[in-house]
Amino acid sequence: MSDSAMAEAVRVLRDEVLETAEHGDRDPPGTEVFDALLRALTIGGESVPGLDLALHDAVARRLAWGDSEEAVLADAELVFDRLLIAVDRAFRDPADRMVVIEAATQVAVTVSRVVALAAVARAGRDRAARMREEMSHRQLKDVLEKQKAAIKHLEHELKQDFR
């Protein structure tokens, strides 16, 4: 089966794999994984890790807009599991099944990689933000000390005046 024919044959499994009956047709969980699989099948086995920037952007966008890393991973795992079941049923030729399984594994690994690297990047940002916060702590403490001194002075002056 040609690359494009293979992609078309897998595209047919979309509703089953993404459970669109339950989640709705518009962007059900794991859509980015399924789309990446179709791309991987279409280009026929590109194996450079993380090369699919569209997948990277889709995952990063989910993370940026508030989905947790765990949710993204869990969706990828569910899509992978359901796809393997669907492929067993839908493809008769073992060679075709192997092609899809290989592509699915590649995509699943890429998703994990993207999530892990995003988490590492977040840790770096958090570390930098913490340093900024700690610097502002020092400034705020200085301000607070000055304010306390001013307050003490003013209270003293006020007591003197009334005495």
Partner: protein, 626 residues
């Protein structure tokens, strides 16, 4: 005149600066892959008649007989037929007696195979690897003498009969045709030309233009201009045939080239950003100009470079999220950030335009990379706003929940609902929020244990696959070897591959640092192991059905292992966020304390002012509490 398809062809011809008629003719017959330059000779307009007659005869012969003769024989027979036609015509017309034509022809059999034939002094050149080679030897009296060793090359150059032909079409009915079969390589360029080109242009100049990388139609035109600048004393004709350049070994090669080109242009990018007013943008206020350029423009430059080089997209996202955070900290003025993005976009595009002028492919690649970076920045800004909105939303929900809980508590007391729960055996269900739900299934203690459930035959085949994969590893790839062992363990574990995957991932993860240097090699090794396993499955001796099951089992194990590894990365990253939240809470407390002290100080100052200033009315000098 450019051929669409794998091979590009272009040709052109010019009268020259001296002659009044153009006796050169070209054959560009794409249907059959026939290309030729013919240079006619003979007085009283007989030269152009000869070349035109030969052209028609050769072309028609090839069109008619291409299915019956082999390429080499076809081209030779066609040229002989052309000569016969010219010779016959010359015999029939007294005024055309002595007319003739040279020919250099090329029959493209397929994109890698051509046949070149020539009679006379029109030439074929091959440019390969930047070097120009002459494929033909001129059929002139002088050249024949050089060939026999009777003249040196220097003497030939100065010889008075150097242009007198020893062979041409029309001198005799069946001339001897020199033939050459050539295997073309990717990027090769063939040039067919009349003596009007090489007679007025040096070989170095021809080599330079042919190797310029310009499109064939431009090269054909430029070569003619070259001959015209050299005097243009004869008709000049050129045909350039170009085989497609070698495809890069992978997309990654192109990306690496793009990354380098981008990085080499960074100074220009920074300069344009500076000129565009980046240092005056409100978001970078308080920074020295060079700090602002480094922090914003150079960071973007580095992010795009690293993403291209390493084929990941994480760096641009990190830059974008940093920029978004900085923007929010500086008040979140939309106009300011819009201006900053516009400056960065304009600067990047000017650099990309420069690169595109030299290499369209790299220009396209970088254009995409820059566009993506700018889109990512806007997405990150949107994401930050969404996060802030979600925080506000969460606070509102918490307030609402507190209010509802209070109301429910009163209701429960009223109806003593706990007695009902005791009777039914159900407890009050706390409202479950999405974020409370565990989402890494394998880390959940109640995750069902699944046995691999594979037959002994499959388990045996899994072992063989891993053995083959390990045999193909270099001894230094220890991490990949470790992963292969882990995969076998997970794939064959009867106690459930989730638990086995978590255990194996913990061993693999070890004590890695939580940064790119610590994490990336692990994922690279995981990917190598995946590729190795996939190829090794095809090498085991087993029925196809068994192979599918082996691949499936190992792929599932791989997915579990990678998922568990990522879970560990997330675990390791967690404390950074928690620590930040703690520090942020302290910041908020300090802000509150400062605000409270500020209010107190202002109040005291006001009171102090009213006391020390006697001009103020008594009532304003203090309250009754004093």
């Amino acid at each position: 005149m450019t051929q669409q398809g794998p091979i590009r062809i272009a040709g052109d011809s010019h009268l020259g600066k001296v002659r009044t008629t153009n006796e050169d003719t070209l054959i560009i017959e794409r249907r059959v892959g026939l290309y030729a330059v013919l240079d006619g000779m003979g007085g009283a307009n007989a030269g152009d008649v000869a070349s035109q007659l030969a052209l028609e005869t050769i072309r028609d012969f090839v069109l008619d007989r291409r299915t019956t003769l082999a390429p080499r024989a076809l081209l030779e027979a066609a040229i002989v037929a052309g000569s016969t036609a010219v010779f016959t015509a010359a015999q029939q017309h007294r005024e055309r007696h002595g007319m003739g034509t040279t020919v250099v022809a090329c029959l493209v059999v397929d994109p890698t195979h051509v046949v070149v034939a020539h009679v006379g002094d029109s030439r074929a050149y091959l440019l390969r690897g930047g070097r120009l080679q002459t494929l033909t030897r001129d059929h002139t009296i002088v050249e024949e003498l050089v060939g026999r060793g009777l003249l040196t090359a220097e003497e030939a150059e100065r010889h008075p009969y150097k242009n007198v032909l020893s062979r041409n079409l029309g001198a005799r009915a069946e001339p001897r045709v020199d033939l050459l079969e050539l295997e073309l390589r990717p990027g090769d360029r063939l040039l067919l030309c009349s003596d009007g080109l090489y007679g007025y242009a040096s070989a170095e100049a021809i080599q330079y233009l042919l190797g310029s990388g310009d499109a064939p139609e431009h090269v054909a035109r430029d070569l003619i201009d070259l001959a015209l600048r050299g005097g243009g004393g004869d008709n000049v004709s050129t045909i350039v045939i170009e085989t497609p350049a070698a495809a890069p070994s992978s997309t990654q090669v192109v990306r690496t080239r793009g990354a380098l080109a981008w990085w080499q242009s960074r100074q220009r990018f920074l300069q344009v950003a500076n000129d565009g007013g980046l240092t005056r943008n409100p978001i970078v206020r308080g920074l020295l100009p060079h700090e602002a350029i480094e922090l914003v423009a150079l960071s973007l430059c580095q992010a795009i470079y690293h993403d291209l080089e390493k084929s990941t997209g994480v760096n641009v996202w990190t830059f974008a999220q940093n920029l978004a955070a900085g923007w929010f900290e500086r008040g979140g003025d939309w106009k300011a950030v819009r201006g900053l993005i516009d400056i960065l976009g304009a600067s990047a595009r000017s650099v990309v335009d420069d690169i595109r002028a030299g290499d369209a492919q790299l220009g396209f690649l970088l254009d995409v990379a820059v566009s993506r970076a700018l889109i990512v920045v806007e997405l990150a800004l949107g994401g930050l706003l969404a996060e802030r909105l979600r925080q506000v939303d969460g606070d509102l929900i918490e307030l609402h929940t507190t209010a509802v809980d209070t109301a429910e508590h009163e209701t429960i007391e009223m109806y003593e609902l706990h007695e009902v729960h005791e009777l039914t055996g159900e407890g009050p269900r706390p409202s479950e929020r999405f974020i409370d739900r565990p989402t890494i299934p394998f880390l959940r203690p109640d995750r069902p244990i699944t046995s691999s459930g594979e037959s002994a035959e499959v388990l045996n085949a899994i072992g063989k696959t891993i053995t083959i994969a390990r045999g193909r590893l270099s001894p230094r790839a220890e991490l990949v070897a470790q992963i292969l062992v882990a995969l076998e363990t997970v794939a064959t574990d009867n106690g459930g591959n989730f638990a086995a995957a978590v255990l194996a991932a913990r061993e693999l993860y070890g004590v890695r640092s939580v940064d790119n240097a610590g994490v990336t090699p692990l994922y690279d090794a995981l990917d190598k192991a995946r590729i190795l396993v996939a190829s090794s499955v095809h090498q085991i001796r087993a029925p196809q059905a068994i192979r599918v099951r082996v691949l499936r089992a190992l792929s599932t194990a791989h997915q579990r292992l990678v998922g568990a590894t990522t879970g560990l990365v997330l675990e390791a990253v967690g404390p950074f966020s928690e620590r930040l939240r703690e520090v942020q809470a302290v910041t908020n407390e300090l802000h509150d304390a400062v605000a409270k002290a500020e209010r107190l100080r202002a109040d005291l100052e006001r009171r102090f002012a009213t006391i020390v200033d006697p001009s103020l009315p008594w009532g304003a000098r203090g309250t009754t509490e004093w």
